[in-house]
Subunit: 275 residues, 2 copies
């Protein structure tokens, strides 16, 4: 079966607490059963944090000089991240989708070289007001996504569920940001719509005041919008920017906590970013 | 590219300590680079035990009335098993193979309904001399393996690496025995050769005396051979029997600890079981 890339929907669902995986999966099932091809990309921060706590290696976060927050992925944290995100969250999503009749297939970026990245050899960060350089970080920025593998699976009727690990240049596993991974997936597939689900209603002019939700933004306003973005929302805005620059027509940042998060987002909820 | 099923080699590698994954991967890489299609099925007991210990939920084992040992997979153990085996071991194998130029792709039985199973609703076992029935076990016996998905991947140039989780009838994840999973994979693909690598030289007439290694066995002798099999070897003999009954021509149980475990096994080492 040939699939028109414009019809594929790429959905990123968070690893944040408050997001209801089963409501999202149910919504995915309705769309898929109605013939809508979907690619899911997921996070798993909350599970990775919980496992890190359980084995006595709690998560640590780094703040870049420009204010972006990311997990400090030392080698043991990478192991924790792999187990929690690729092991637990990915399997849980595939299991939920399968129980709803969706033929989901889980992959990480290592599988079949789906997502390749370059390891960040030196991560600049600020800790207690001091600038530091971290050199043991096992994370990377995605360089390439292999749309061929995703298309092979979609054409054979599978719904890919992608965990945010990438393959480094030496075959190593690298942690990678799930929002930006979803953006790269959307660009590689040349889809029209990327949906980033999160635990807030969208981008707010004045976080956390939900009455200040920004319903529409143009790509050219994103640099300015970045000023409103707090914490992890910064990565979503960055992902949106990368997706639009790569040819995706619209990025929707919407609430993953609603009963039908995808349907509602596509019906106009959340922050729509497009020209 | 069409692949003749007879040429595919199915290799099961253990999760037991002492088995050197990197030597096995190196051997796989040589074979794959020489044009040999391979499907790997792996275990992960040692990693699952280690993670269970680390989070304070140590592994427990059940012994069936007929002497077979299996993991007691209560719901929390299933989570541990999923993280350790599908998360860590599978990703590690894919990563090692990728670093050697093999385009490995990791899957569990849930992915694309690769392996479906029925949950064992009542597991009979013997504990301290008493017979018990365990009802919360999240493990299952594989009913079906979808050769179509494996062939799709092999034909596209991917080397599947399969974690021993299966999809239950309600979409749930189930722990499943890796040796018997490998046997079912070999049967579904209709391959000629199934290789079960382990941490001993093969089946021994008098375990652990390695000078009593049985080099050749006929399928008809397997019931008798079962008497010599100790502990986990019983599952391998059972897997061998299931594979041969399903049309696989030969099963080799061989030492995964040698420098070139696959090459040496194919050259005649270990216990060859065939008619």
């Amino acid at each position: 079966m040939h699939i028109d890339p414009h019809t594929i929907l790429v959905v990123k669902l968070g690893g944040t607490e408050g997001v209801d995986f089963s409501a999202i999966c149910k919504d995915v099932a309705e769309l898929v059963n109605a013939g809508q091809p979907v690619v899911l990309v997921h996070g798993g921060s909350a599970e990775a944090n919980a496992l890190g706590d359980a084995i006595g290696h709690p998560a640590q976060f780094l703040t870049s000089p420009s204010g972006f927050t990311s997990r400090h992925t030392d080698p043991q944290t990478l192991e924790v991240f792999t187990m929690a995100v690729n092991g637990k969250v990915n399997t849980l999503l595939v299991s939920q989708l399968q129980s709803m009749g969706v033929n989901a297939l889980g992959l990480s970026g290592l599988d079949g070289r789906l997502m390749t990245a370059r390891r960040k050899e030196a991560v600049r960060c600020v800790k207690n007001g001091k600038r530091l350089v971290i050199r043991n970080d096992q994370s990377g920025k995605i360089k390439q996504v292999d749309a061929g593998l995703l298309n092979l699976l979609l054409q054979a009727g599978y719904i890919p569920v992608v965990a945010p690990l990438a393959l480094g240049e030496n075959g190593e596993a690298l942690n990678t940001d799930a929002d930006r991974a979803a953006a790269m997936v959307a660009v590689a597939l040349q889809v029209d719509t990327l949906l980033l689900l999160t635990a807030v209603p969208g981008l707010m002019r004045s976080f956390p005041d939900e009455t200040t939700l920004i319903p529409h933004l143009q790509a050219a306003q994103l640099d300015e919008a970045m000023q409103c973005a707090e914490g992890r929302m910064k990565k979503k805005v960055l992902g949106a920017q990368e997706a639009l620059q790569g040819g995706v027509k619209r990025v929707i940042i919407a609430d993953g906590r609603s009963p039908q998060p995808i349907t509602q987002a596509l019906a106009g909820q959340g922050t729509w970013i497009q020209d």
